[in-house]
């Protein structure tokens, strides 16, 4: 299977994602420039973190108009696998590929630190190697990670099991004390209804090697590889 990492001007986790896929997971991966119009035989697209277009105007607001987004939307419609991390998540929201919006962190500060998230759903192609309720230590690094969706939207997300990750304590308690940014219902990551697109604020590529203190993020990439290579059905 083949990965692609999209590079927008201002992406800054593109090389980190590339490194994890190529050197840690040992799978083929290529960069796709934001002005490209075709994905060419890719199985999974990663929209990396960073500050696409400087996040000027609003996070992800300009990137969604990049030429490559047409190809990505088409790929999504055909059921292709897409992971948006941090700024990539924000771009997917702006592009309407995932529901909801992102507000500034409630403390009005950028926050970079390891946090705990709980895997609420292991029936997705991105999370099939986790146990339900498993607590993962994965860092966040963002200014706008305060996920918001209205009550109706939230109910829909829950009814369809689209909430994949929620912020929690080391012991797995999900409550406001362990909500770093004010996100609705402690939401850290969601999928679309079809389950082929994942958006998450924490950075799994920063917790995929023992040297960096945690390998909990590794299994997101590994799940998708297993799913695609073994044609698991989730």
């Amino acid at each position: 299977m083949k990965f692609a990492v999209v590079v927008f001007p201002g992406s800054n986790c593109d090389q980190d994602c590339f490194y994890i896929i190529k050197d840690v997971l040992k799978r083929p991966v290529k960069y796709i420039w934001h002005k490209d119009t075709a994905l060419d035989g890719v199985d999974c697209v990663v929209l990396p973190g960073g500050f696409s277009y400087g996040d000027y105007l609003r996070t992800g607001a300009i990137a969604r108009f990049s030429p490559v987004m047409n190809a990505i939307t088409g790929f999504a419609k055909k059921g292709g696998s897409i992971i948006g991390i941090c700024n990539g998540f924000q771009i997917l929201l702006e592009a309407g590929l995932l529901p909801g919006v992102m507000l500034r962190n409630r403390g009005l500060h950028f926050i970079c630190k390891p946090v705990y998230i709980k895997a609420d759903n292991n029936q997705t192609r991105f999370t099939n190697l986790y146990n339900i309720g498993q607590v993962l230590k994965i860092p966040i690094a963002h200014n706008e990670g305060n996920y918001y969706i209205d009550a109706k939207g939230l109910k829909e997300l829950k009814d369809n099991h689209q909430v994949v990750f929620r912020y929690c304590s080391a012991a797995g308690d999900v409550n406001d004390r362990y909500n770093p940014n004010g996100a609705v219902d402690n939401i850290a990551g969601i999928t679309n209804k079809k389950g082929n697109i994942l958006g998450m604020m924490p950075h799994p590529e920063r917790s995929s090697e023992i040297k960096l203190g945690s390998t909990d993020g590794y299994f997101i990439f590994k799940s998708i590889i297993d799913w695609l290579e073994n044609k698991k059905t989730c």
């Binding site: 001007p9 277009y53 500060h109 040297k211 960096l212």
Partner: protein, 735 residues
Amino acid sequence: MLRPDIYHSLGLSDKEYLQVLKILKREPTNTELAMFSVEWSEHCGYLCSRKWLKILPKTGKYKTLIGEDSGGIIIGDLAIVFKMESHNHPSQIEPKQGAATGVGGIIRDIFTAGARPIACLDSLRFGPLSQAYNKYLIRGVVDGIQFYGNCVGVPTVGGEIYFDQSYNGNCLVNAMCIGVTKKDKLMRARAFGAGNAIMYVGSSTGRDGIGGCSILASHEFKEGEEKRPTVQVGDPFTEKCLIEATLEAIATGYLVGIKDMGAAGLTCCTSEMASAGNSGMDVELQAVPRREKKMEPWEVMMSESQERMLVCVKKGKEEQIKKLFLKWDLNASVIGKVTSDGLVTIRDNGKIVARINARALTKAPVYAMPYRKPGYLRKLDKLELNRIPAPKDYNKVLLKLMAAPSIANKAWAYEQYDHMVQTNTVVLPGSDAAVLRLKGTNKAIAATTDCNSRYCFLNPYRGAQIAIAEAARNLVCSGARPAAVTDCLNFGNPEKPESFWQFKNCLEGIADACKSFKVAVVSGNVSFYNESPKSAINPTPAIGMIGIINDIDKACSQNFKQEGDTIILLGCCRQELGASEYLKEIHNLNMGAVPRLDLELEQAVQRTCLEAAEKGLVHSAHDCSEGGLAVALAECCISDKEKMIGANINKLSYGMRPDALLFGESQSRIILSCSAGSVEKIRKIALKFKAPFCIIGKTAGRVLRILNDTKELIYLPLEYLNEEWSGSLKKKIEG
């Protein structure tokens, strides 16, 4: 003849103006006058400092590289390039943009050397947080660093934040950047080869920052001056694109040289690149991309607009390079060519507006400044210990010190910085030094910044030596071999002999200590005129030091790792309370003898720590600095908030004042923890290097307990210590 008030207002003296006339053999044009004024400003020309900078060692145990705008060392086939630079005055006026553009500038100095920037550190100093303006400053500066560094994708992995009365009215913002490249990809800031193209790349030119370096950085602050328009505005998004485009351009092999347009902008770039390449340059200003209309030639030459660079490109390859920058939506415009006449020729629509010998323009006069030992030293040296009352409750003192802003945990700041992007940060901020892996190797580098400016105020020579010693100590505590130094020398007005004496003595201290450790000073920056209307800052030679870890798995951090480990103290505790944080915070005294520094003892302690770490015998290592033994032990206990481990220190036996034992800042001390099985092995290493070795207790429980003989001095649950240490800075800044 030009009226003296005109060139005086640009900062040129009568004598300097006469020299300009001698070089040109005629009256200067407006543009030429502007060019001389910025090139010969203290900030760009190092007029006062150059004579003394020569004493710093340029070689050490690692092979060094000294470039025009940065320096570094060679490790195998890799070059590690790094430099620290000040942005003090802009930050005092406009903290967010001042700090942001400081970060942007230092990052450009690194990637124009051909290296990918992999980490930044920031050494910051402010006046007391009891004053509202200082809170505004620290918030703004931290905001500026996060705004720029996070977006540009270079992790901010460390640094320091100190508070002292002397920075009231003149904060210090020193930014350091580290980059890595293959050694054959290194670039120099040179233009040569007649006919090669001179290209301007990056943002367009506006009127921002005109005179920033010559006016702002080369004079002290006076009451009520409006200088905000001289501060530039940063655009980290453009810089991120510039990094990628520049590294791609360098990879083509078509570049001859490249230089950041920092202080003094186009003036500095044209004249210094030509001079460094033994050539001349002919440049047409109409080809310079602009964002403002009707700019005068001298304004274009003086502008300090950010995110711009000058590139010398091999003849015939201009289009390929242009295409590369256009891909990133960046300007790239051929503005001239290299000549062999040694002259910088500047044209406006073909008409020559300046023509100066490049070598002469870049060779600013050197001054031998007079110096004199300041009178305050005699008065402050005498500390009568028996006049200082012994505290009744040492627990209270320790808690107060843990909450002192200079000691308290700095998570409030570093959690606002992306310190993990690029996924190299192996030891995160909050330990003695940051550790970064070098991908593709088994090696890592450690980096730290250090300077205790109170020591430097009370004894500049020893204070500067201690800054070097402590930086090296922080590195060995991380398991790294001290390798090379960059310095950012912040001082007051060099025209005042007392101030210059501080500068000279600090430099001698740095030079002597570096020679002892066999580390070279590969890059640096001088910032004078750090004075408010009330006083000068403490002399602050901030030291940035890089160390090498040969086996990344042996990297070490300061927090205790497990219960039941043996705690070892390397070094000696002496009765030394002078110049301590304890005297300042508890007794409100800023005086006394600076702790002794015996470089042989220091080396013995450091070699022991390093060898023990490299052999994998050590679980944690932490040096004793501000707040002494008690604060260092407390930090070992609580640095890892998720896994706090207490200590029972029951083997101390010192016949001295308890406050001196607990809080005195004797140098050359390191606290190690290790499993019982490693103790004898470490003792043998200590014996070999003749380092004082002492088992002082064991890790245990959730309490820090310190006894001297049988007398219990400290008994504190870790939660109490953590509350003061972790919460206080945020409370003082935001509360």
